[in-house]
C-alpha cells in the first residue's frame, strides 16, 4: 500500500524540487528511523547535502535525520522534502524517483540488526 501512495505530489519551484512524502509504514515512527531518503531527477540521483526534510514546522538535512530520535513522523502527516537544484530546471516533463528506507524498531534479527523497509515511488512533473 505504502509505495502506491508514498509520493503525494512533486513540483519544481524557485530552483527547488519539492516533494510531499508519506511515511511508508502503518505506525508512526521517530524521524531517526528514516535511514534512506534518496531522490533522483530524470534518472540522476540528487545530492543528499542539498536535500532537507520538513515536518511539523521543523526542518533538517538528510545527515541530521539519525539524531532525530525525539521527533516523530505520524502516519497521518506528510513530510516536505526539498532539494536545492544547482542549475535552473529545464522546461518540459521531468521524472522524479523517490526511495524511502525506514527502520522498523521492533523487527530486530537475532544478530541485532533492525529491518529496513524500502519503498520506491515515481512521479512525472509536467510544466
Amino acid at each position: 500500500m505504502f509505495a502506491r501512495h508514498l509520493l503525494e505530489s512533486a513540483r519544481l519551484e524557485d530552483g527547488e524540487l519539492v516533494l510531499i512524502v508519506r511515511l511508508n509504514w502503518y505506525r508512526s515512527l521517530p524521524l531517526s528511523c528514516v535511514e534512506r531518503l534518496e531522490v533522483a531527477l530524470d534518472g540522476t540521483f540528487l545530492p543528499a547535502d542539498r536535500t532537507t526534510v520538513e515536518l511539523g514546522g521543523a526542518r533538517c538535512t538528510i545527515g541530521e535525520l539519525a539524531a532525530q530520535d525525539q521527533r516523530w513522523w505520524s502516519v497521518l502527516d506528510a513530510a516536505t522534502v526539498r532539494v536545492d537544484l544547482d542549475v535552473p530546471s529545464a522546461p518540459g516533463p521531468r521524472v522524479v524517483d523517490l526511495l524511502l528506507g525506514t527502520r522498523i524498531p521492533y523487527l530486530v534479527s537475532p544478530a541485532g540488526d533492525a529491518a529496513v523497509i524500502v519503498d520506491r515511488a515515481r512521479a512525472e512533473i509536467t510544466r
Binding site: 508519506r22 508512526s28 539524531a67 530520535d69 505520524s74 502516519v75 524498531p105 521492533y106 523487527l107 524500502v118
Partner: protein, 326 residues
C-alpha cells in the same frame, strides 16, 4: 448453540486510516456497526495522533467515542521496540522500559490489557512485575506456535512456571499459514520483484526451507540490482509474516490463551480465507471450551487497495460464527 465473542483489531482498518478516509472515531463507528459487543484492539502508535505523548484531549475523544459506539476496549497493542533509537539496539529486557509508558496510555484509554508483540522467557518476569504494579493484564502475542517453534514452547514453559494470573498470550492465526497469500505475491511483483524470484521464494517457503536458503536461490538469478534488492526484501517479509505452523499446536497454547487474532488476507467467494485452516482451528477452540474473543485481523489492505476492509471483516465474522456453529 452459543456464539463466540467477536472483535476487530483496528490495524485491519489501517489502510483507510492511513489514507485519511476514516478517523479513529470513524473506525469505532464502523466496528460498532458490525453488531453488539464488538471488542477492539488498538495500536497506539498507529491510531493516536499525538503518540507518543498522548494528549488528554485525544484520550477524552477516544473514551467518548467508545461510550457513544458501545465497542469494548480489549487490548492495547505495544511493541518491544529494541531499535527505536538509531544509536543503540536495546536488549529485549531493556526495551520493557518503553512498554511501561504504553501501559500508562492504555490505562488512560480504558484498556484492561496490553499486548506486546513478542517476548523471550527472560522478559516474562519483568512483564509479570509490570502487571502486578499497574493492575494491567500483560499479553504476549504469538506469531508462531509451540510445535514448530521451540522459542514459543520455551515461552509457554516459563508461563507455566510463573503461574501469574495477569500474564497470558494472544494467538495470531498467522502462525498457521499454509501458502503465501496471492495478494502479497501480486503486490511484490508490482513493486519490482520479478516473477522468477517470486517462484523461487514461494517454492522454498512451501517446502519449509529457511529464508537464507530462499535468498541463496534468488542470488544467481539474472536480476538488476533493484530487482535483486526487491526480491530479497520480498523473501524476508514473506518469511516474517507467514508462518507454517501445526494447527494442533493451538491446543498447547490454550492454558494461557486470552484471545485470538483471527488473521486473514483476502476471503474467497465462499468467505473462506484460503491460506489458513480456519475450520480446523475453530473446531479446536470450540471443542476445548474456549470462551475468549475472536478478533478479526485483516491484513490484505497492505497489498491490494481494491479489497474493501469493512466488507472483508463483516464477511469474516459471519464465517467465524458459521464455523463455530458447525
Amino acid at each position: 448453540m452459543s456464539t463466540p465473542r467477536l472483535g476487530v483489531v483496528l490495524f485491519s482498518l489501517g489502510g483507510l486510516f492511513w489514507q485519511r478516509r476514516l478517523t479513529l472515531a470513524g473506525c469505532l463507528e464502523q466496528v460498532a456497526a458490525l453488531g453488539p459487543d464488538q471488542g477492539i484492539e488498538l495500536v497506539g502508535a498507529q491510531s493516536l495522533r499525538s503518540y507518543p505523548d498522548v494528549s488528554d484531549e485525544e484520550i477524552r475523544g477516544f473514551r467518548a467515542a467508545v461510550d457513544r459506539t458501545g465497542v469494548v476496549p480489549v487490548s492495547y497493542c505495544a511493541y518491544l521496540e529494541r531499535a527505536r533509537s538509531s544509536s543503540r539496539v536495546l536488549s529485549p529486557l531493556e526495551s520493557v522500559e518503553l512498554v511501561e509508558a504504553e501501559v500508562e496510555v492504555a490505562r488512560r484509554l480504558g484498556f484492561p490489557a496490553v499486548r506486546v508483540n513478542t517476548a523471550t522467557p527472560e522478559v516474562l518476569p519483568a512483564l509479570a512485575r509490570l502487571a502486578d504494579r499497574t493492575g494491567t493484564t500483560m499479553l504476549v502475542e504469538l506469531a508462531t506456535e509451540p510445535r514448530t517453534d521451540p522459542a514459543v514452547a520455551a515461552l509457554l514453559e516459563e508461563l507455566d512456571r510463573l503461574a501469574c494470573p495477569d500474564l497470558g498470550v494472544i494467538q495470531d492465526f498467522s502462525a498457521f499459514v499454509q501458502a503465501i497469500p496471492a495478494p502479497y505475491l501480486a503486490d511484490a511483483e508490482a513493486g519490482g520483484t520479478p516473477r522468477a524470484a517470486l517462484a523461487v521464494i514461494a517454492r522454498a517457503w512451501s517446502a519449509g526451507r529457511p529464508v537464507d536458503e530462499a535468498v541463496e536461490e534468488v542470488l544467481p538469478l539474472p536480476l538488476s540490482p533493484e530487482e535483486m534488492g526487491a526480491s530479497i526484501q520480498t523473501a524476508h517479509i514473506a518469511y516474517a509474516l507467514f508462518r507454517a505452523g501445526d494447527p494442533a499446536g493451538l491446543r498447547d497454547v490454550l492454558p494461557h490463551l486470552r484471545h485470538v487474532q483471527a488473521k486473514f488476507f483476502a476471503l474467497d467467494a465462499q468467505d473462506a480465507e484460503p491460506c489458513i485452516p480456519y475450520p480446523e482451528l475453530i473446531a479446536i477452540l470450540r471443542e476445548t471450551g474456549y470462551a475468549g474473543r475472536l478478533d478479526s485481523e485483516f491484513e490484505g489492505f497492505l497489498w491490494d487497495d481494491d479489497l474493501d476492509a469493512l466488507d472483508q471483516i463483516a464477511r469474516q465474522q459471519r464465517e467465524l460464527v458459521r464455523l463455530w456453529n458447525g
